[in-house]
Amino acid sequence: MDFSIFQQYGPALLKGFANTILCWALGTVLGMALGLVIALIQRYAPRPVRWIVQAYIEIIRGTPFLVQLFVLYYGGPLIGLRLDALPAGLLGLTIYGSPYFAEIFRSGFRAVPHGQIEAARAIGMTEMTIVRRILLPLGLVSALPALINFSIILTKETVILSIITVPELMYQVNRMSTETFRYLEANLVLALFFWVLVETISRVGRRLETRITKHLIERT
């Protein structure tokens, strides 16, 4: 085994890691936003719209991320959607995450006691205000652990973007290993790297979670 290649390829790997973080952060934020919109549509829109959104959820959750990326990146140009690898990957990650986030928000909203919403109505709040002041803050807090959990899962999905040539960490590692024939070392280090990354994020996430829930328990 020979690990000196990591020195030589350091800058490329760092750039790849920056892209991984970029894809993950933007994909998570955009996916969450889209998921929130979907969850609100599921709650308030008329029935036909809800059916369409439900079909979207089932389709995205029932198909592999890789196939979704292929449809988007290789199939997109046939209907005039011509994207570079990185934007395509970001869009793919957003679309892929959105139904899972939507389900998380939906169950978060369901955890809001109905009495709170009735009370808000009784004192004359409009539906918009109820969403803004009651449903969102309370729902978000109960959705928080699941949101963190799914965000961690998304870090692992970013490596799949390398298959459609998004220049993220795994893509750079693959390039390095094909140029130097050090396949084993490269992938082994990548595995250890992800292990540490995911473990660290989950620890931070758990701490964040206990802090916020403790705060809530003190208040009630």
């Binding site: 089932e58 196939v67 292929f70 449809v71 046939l78 298959i163 992938n187 595995a191 992800f194 292990w195």
Partner: protein, 215 residues
């Protein structure tokens, strides 16, 4: 534009390849169930070394993306002198990865059983062996069935990644089909439809089991 004939024609070879997706998923979950049971037992065992090992096993396999695991496994085997076909390597990787999730499902199911169950069994004079085989395990396994179906759905989707190491399944077949027809849009949508059909069937089975096993 979207060409319907191309779309319909690509179903033939893709459905043929679907048997390998199913084979990988079912063998993977079978292997995952066996290893998962062992890991779960290790996690609940009184020996700290076994518990540590199982905890590291679960944390590693859940922390590393399956695609990276596949490549590590794929490149490690020749180095340590094991020469197996790529298909076997892929199934073993998928199974090992699933074992981490399955052991957690089972641990959760066992933990969810009311403590009174094993206390009651002890009170009527059952030994530890009987308590496990006749009280705890039958209930825990039944309770975990919907979650296991869910895991199987995840595996069907995850099996698309083994296309990367050259194994012919739906995704790999659709890549080949897209390359020969120059119509990636229709072909990949067809592939998505097949995955969706498989997973919807599994989801229906899962819901049925949930109703059946609900006490």
């Amino acid at each position: 534009m979207f060409s319907l004939p191309v779309f319909l024609e690509s179903f033939g070879p893709l459905i043929w390849a679907a048997r390998y997706t199913l084979l990988i998923s079912f063998l993977g979950i079978g292997l995952g169930l066996v290893i998962g049971a062992l890991i779960c037992a290790a996690r609940l065992s009184p020996y700290i070394a076994l518990r540590r090992f199982a905890a590291v096993w679960v944390s590693f396999l859940r922390g590393v993306p399956l695609l990276v695991q596949l490549l590590v496994f794929y490149y490690t085997l020749p180095v340590i002198g094991i020469d197996v076909p790529a298909f076997v390597a892929a199934v073993v990787t998928v199974g090992i990865c699933a074992s981490a999730y399955i052991s957690e499902i089972w641990r959760g199911a066992i933990a969810a059983l009311p403590k009174g169950q094993s206390e009651a069994a002890t009170a009527i004079g059952m030994g530890p062996r009987d308590i496990w085989t006749r009280v705890i395990l039958p209930q825990a396994v039944t309770m975990s069935l919907p979650a296991l179906i869910n895991e199987l759905i995840l595996l069907v989707k995850a099996s698309s990644l083994v296309s990367v190491v050259g194994i012919l399944e739906i995704t790999r077949a659709s890549q080949a089909q897209a390359a020969t027809t120059f119509r990636p849009l229709e072909v990949y949508i067809a592939a998505a439809c097949i995955y969706l059909a498989i997973n919807l069937c599994l989801a229906v089975l899962g819901r049925y089991l949930e109703h059946r096993t609900a006490v």
